[in-house]
């Protein structure tokens, strides 16, 4: 993600005026048109509706007709009794996923990179990528049958060790089940980006390491990991930018009456308030709060990272 914004190459040729360039390259602009239209309508269009967060919603007057109420709905959210719980739940789930989920793909990629026989490597990749292609509904359905008390295989296995816990009903089990199943599903897929980075490591570095008498373990520590660091930082920044948007689908599908106190997060609340109970302005305000926090987070982490390590998105 560095080049399109960080790039500062100056072309030597003198550029022709924009207008003449557009006329000459009109076919390229035609090729761009559908994409520009789609993004303008469906991605920028809703941004116009953000003002709803500062207005009363009036069904008769439409989006922009309602009375301006300033920060009313933001304050309502901050003062609501669910606020602290929801923020805490969202952060807990996000950070647990980030901290526990981040190292696994890296380790997996480092291990796969050690396999010399391409056929074995390909097969392993096919295996590790497979869970990524399962839909969220199926994933949660799978958890429901495998973890069910009494009948589920995981519960019976834990029972053998004398652990009797209702993995679906117990509030304390929600976050571990969410995070571990998330790692199970996506760690393999997320390792692709690291594998790709490893495949582009200069082989001279390996030769040099061998000449210096480094074993395979030392080569990993002193060649592979340093080469992965920039990629890791980029991935970390990207996930920090999503810290408040934990996946709606999975949490929503995993929610039940017993775990709601730990499982209600901002995105599910936005859905319930907005779509189910039609409190449009309130929901829009919470949604905007969420987006802004994410955005600020992304910018901040990016700036810190640029100072510390000289790697950043923009």
């Amino acid at each position: 993600m560095k080049t399109f914004s960080g790039q500062k190459q100056i072309s030597v040729r003198k550029q022709e005026p924009l207008f003449r360039n557009i006329r000459k390259r009109y076919q390229l602009w035609l090729m761009l048109l559908p994409a520009i239209l789609s993004i303008a309508v469906f991605n920028y269009g809703p941004m116009y509706g953000i003002q709803l967060a500062f207005r009363e919603f009036d069904f008769t007057k439409g989006l922009t007709g309602g009375e301006f109420v300033g920060l009313k709905y933001f304050l309502k959210f901050f003062r609501s009794f669910q606020f602290t719980d929801m923020i805490r739940n969202t952060f807990t789930i996000s950070f647990a996923t980030l901290i526990l989920g981040f190292p696994v793909p890296v380790i997996l990629a480092l291990m796969m990179n050690q396999i010399r026989r391409t056929k074995v490597k390909k097969t392993l990749q096919t295996v590790f990528y497979a869970p990524h292609f399962i839909s969220m509904v199926v994933m949660v359905g799978l958890l429901n049958v495998l973890l069910a008390p009494n009948t589920g295989i995981v519960s019976s296995m834990l029972g053998l060790f004398g652990i009797n816990i209702n993995l679906l009903g117990d509030r304390n089990a929600f976050v571990p089940v969410y995070v571990l199943s998330d790692i199970w599903q996506h760690a393999g897929w997320n390792s692709i980006i690291y594998l790709a980075a490893l495949s582009s490591v200069d082989t001279q570095l390996y030769d040099a390491a061998r000449v210096d008498g480094a074993g395979r373990w030392q080569t990993i520590c002193h060649v592979d990991i340093p080469c992965l660091t920039p990629t890791m930082i980029i991935m970390l920044i990207l996930s920090m930018g999503n810290i408040l948007s934990v996946g709606f689908e999975k949490i929503f599908l995993m929610q039940n009456s017993t775990n709601l106190t730990v499982a209600e997060v901002i995105s599910t609340y936005v859905y319930k308030i907005g779509i189910r109970s039609n409190q449009y302005s309130y929901s829009a305000a919470i949604g905007l709060f969420n987006t802004v926090v994410n955005f600020v987070m992304l910018i901040t982490v990016n700036r810190i990272s640029k100072k510390v390590s000289d790697t950043g998105l923009f």
Partner: protein, 299 residues
């Protein structure tokens, strides 16, 4: 790197090798076993499955689960709808994404950086759920099949992957010499760029297809009419709300005996609904790393 003989390896490297193999084997078991168990459970006797006696191979084979799935009209409707949404949606996605990505890869096009910024900004900032919902309502897309097909035709992440691929693998000279022969931008894209870009085209097509196939959110938010239900909504009904037997309408609580049979049906449904995507991706896997993902990092 050439393989050294086992004897030549140092003790450290040998220990490393053994540890690596054991660890990989454990990872494979963790990933494969749950999936394998689903297959086992779907074809075995429900009673034995629920008692935890089916662990390594099927026992008392029966196809009860699959039979029930094929008799359920909800699943057929969902499947048909999802196939339609996936095919049409992916066509629109590809038609909007690929030409745009190519145009943005051309260094002689002015203003491309500005357009790119216009696209990338949407990755980090959006209007949110309610404003988007109200927009769809205004465009009369709510509760129609078009809500699955038209909106969000361009995924910016995919666009970046394609653009980086074109930048790196279509040499500028190729276009310049074609242009000398009077080849237009449009013709060049169709007759030269596309045939040279099978890797990126198939990967992006796969991404879009999987996204449509597994899409649950769109149906949840915008669809009221059961006849338009995509597969994933039907699956939620069965797998999560536990309304397994169409006619019964019991929902939620079944007797433990019925629940055993319900679970068998669930295992069968999990297999049938996931199989299409699981079959397709290994064919495209070889392109995942090569150039395509690397494009995503550098991009």
């Amino acid at each position: 790197m050439n393989e050294k003989g086992w004897r030549q390896k140092s003790v450290g490297d040998r220990t490393f090798d053994i540890a690596l193999r054991i660890l990989l084997a454990i990872f494979v078991i963790i990933v494969v076993y749950p999936l394998y168990f689903v297959v086992l459970a779907s074809v075995s006797d429900p009673l034995l499955v629920s008692k935890g006696q089916v662990l390594l191979w099927p026992k008392e084979m029966s196809l009860f689960g699959f039979q029930k799935v094929f008799e359920d009209t909800r699943i057929w409707i969902g499947l048909r709808n999802t196939v339609i949404y996936t095919v049409l949606g992916t066509i629109i996605n590809m038609a909007a994404t690929l030409p745009a990505a190519y145009a943005l890869s051309r260094k002689d096009m002015r203003g491309r950086k500005t357009v790119m910024m216009f696209f990338v900004f949407t990755m980090f900032f959006n209007g949110g759920l309610v404003p988007t919902y109200l927009l769809m309502q205004k465009l009369h897309l709510v509760n129609t099949i078009w809500v699955f097909i038209l909106p969000f035709a361009v995924n910016v992440y995919n666009l970046i992957i394609a653009r980086t691929f074109f930048e790196n693998s279509i040499p500028t000279e190729l276009y310049e010499s074609a242009a000398l022969d009077g080849c237009s931008d449009f013709k060049f894209f169709v007759s030269m760029v596309m045939p040279l870009s099978k890797a990126v085209v198939s990967v992006i097509m796969l991404y879009y297809m999987v996204a449509h196939w597994n899409d649950f959110f769109t149906g949840l938010i915008y669809i009221r009419d059961q006849k338009l239900n995509p597969l994933q909504l039907v699956l939620r009904e069965i797998l999560i709300a536990n309304n397994v037997f169409a006619a019964g309408g019991t929902g939620g609580s079944l007797s433990s005996y019925d629940q055993m049979y319900a679970d068998t049906v669930k295992y069968a449904i999990i297999i049938i609904s996931s199989l299409p995507m699981l079959i397709i991706y290994p064919f495209i896997q070889k392109y995942f790393e090569k150039g395509v993902m690397i494009g995503a990092i550098k991009g």
